[in-house]
């Protein structure tokens, strides 16, 4: 998955494993992780609850973060976001 970030050398690239957690826990873990990051940093969240495809983008919109990518494969749901101001 590191290829996702290869054109943004300055940003911190973190991954959060939120597998097996049910909503809203992946959102809470994302929220807590983002608190430790700076604007422009990126976070890849890997989940197994399909509800995150709604909830994490909604949480990002409310809080001014940007969803860069969402996709799913093998019952995993992956969201890459960029921390806003």
């Amino acid at each position: 998955m590191t290829g996702t970030f290869k054109n943004i050398p300055m940003a911190l690239k973190e991954t959060l494993n939120a597998r097996r957690l049910l909503c809203p826990l992946p959102v809470i873990r994302t929220q807590d992780k983002v608190k430790l990051l700076k604007p422009g940093d990126q976070l890849e969240v890997i989940c197994t609850d399909p509800g995150v495809m709604h909830d994490i983008p909604a949480w990002c919109r409310i809080n001014g973060h940007k969803v860069l990518e969402t996709h799913s494969c093998d019952h995993e749901y992956i969201i890459v976001l960029e921390v806003g101001e």
Binding site: L22, P24, V27, M53, H54, A58, I62, N63, H75
Partner: protein, 347 residues
């Protein structure tokens, strides 16, 4: 210039808390939302687990409400702290295992801590006098304010005019005249108000905001405590109560049997924590065994699991038993007939 006052609104995702926040926002107050995750919240969960709903994942109403209002939402994990509320509620339980009054006190207390840490001025809730028989009567309102420590920093915009003035009203941060005096169980005033605010899409959960108001869920929780011999739980325990068919053929063990594919996939995630079994000669569901079992118990469990697969009428089925380390063995059993599965076994 007067200071911009800030309020935190307890957002459950229902209409009342949405309206309460809106009323205060209309008065020029900066409002942010707070939502507490106890582990029992209705949001997400079973919707997310069950296959049928996957085509259209349900939204998290608290997030959705915050987005509609254009406010930030802080979701706070209170799973650990909530245990003491549920296990030993000072004011007792409601109709089922819902400790609503203690729960309200707890949440308002957490909100009070939050406003102190975040330099906010007061707290708002969507409570309405008489809306819920246990926690929202007129006599209970001061109990919540007092025992939470929020006192007159707790404002209920929906019924404020029927309650003593709070600090935000006394200080003139909000205009008491523009607050409301709703009482009773009718939803009409809220629906009217929603119309006035141009809100036409909202959620109105019938029972309450959490699984503890559900009769069947509460029965499973009581069963869990009885079997453990102690009132305690971990997050996984309470998640598993939301999933599958729970059958307790003996006091010391129960089976959690997936009802469909989504649940099966969810239960797969617990194969390292539980002995599991599934029918390998015919299509059938995955089941977890919760408890310490003898060879005889395992045989009975296999017969029950056989009943819920497509080999239910077969003379014999193969049931593969997998222990926590992943070692497998096969039991050949005759599935039980429906009438051999006692009604009392269903939790």
């Amino acid at each position: 210039m007067s200071k911009q006052r800030k309020a935190v609104a307890l957002i459950s995702g229902g209409l009342d808390s949405m309206l309460a926040a809106k009323i205060i926002m209309e008065q020029g107050i900066h409002v942010e939302g707070i939502n507490f995750f106890t582990g029992f919240c209705v949001e997400g969960h079973t919707h997310a687990i069950r296959e049928k709903s996957n085509a259209k994942p349900t939204r998290n109403n608290a997030l959705w409400v915050a987005e509609q209002l254009g406010i930030k939402l802080h979701i706070v994990d209170v799973i650990e702290e909530y245990k003491k509320v549920l296990i030993n509620p000072k004011h007792g339980y409601g109709q089922h295992m819902n400790p609503c009054l203690d729960c309200k006190i707890f949440m308002v207390n957490k909100a009070k801590q939050w406003i102190v840490e975040n330099d906010f001025d007061f707290i708002i809730t969507g409570e309405v006098i008489g809306q819920r028989p246990m926690s929202q009567t007129k006599s209970k309102m001061p109990i919540v304010s007092k025992q939470s420590g929020a006192d007159d920093l707790l404002l209920r915009p929906m019924c404020a005019k029927n309650l003593p003035a709070t600090l935000p009203e006394i200080e003139g941060w909000v205009d008491r005249e523009k607050l409301y005096d709703i009482t009773g169980r009718s939803r009409k005033p809220q629906i009217e108000m929603a119309k006035e605010f141009g809100i036409d899409d909202y959620s109105q959960p019938a029972g309450g905001c959490c699984f503890l108001t559900d009769k069947y869920y509460s029965a499973k929780l009581v069963d869990l405590w009885k079997a453990q011999g102690t009132k305690d739980y971990e997050l996984d325990d309470i998640m598993l109560l939301k999933v599958g068919r729970h059958i307790r053929p003996r006091p010391h063990f129960k089976l959690i049997i997936a009802r469909e594919e989504g649940e099966g996939r969810f239960l797969q995630g617990y194969k390292k924590e539980f002995t599991s079994m599934h029918c390998s000669s015919h299509p059938g569901p995955l089941a977890l065994i919760d408890g310490v079992v003898s060879a005889e118990d395992l045989y009975l469990a296999a017969q029950i699991v056989g009943r819920y697969g497509q080999g239910r009428e077969a003379e014999q089925v193969d049931i593969t038993v997998t222990d926590q380390e992943g070692s497998e063995r096969v039991l050949q059993v005759k599935p039980l007939r429906t009438d051999e599965i006692s009604n009392d076994w269903h939790v």
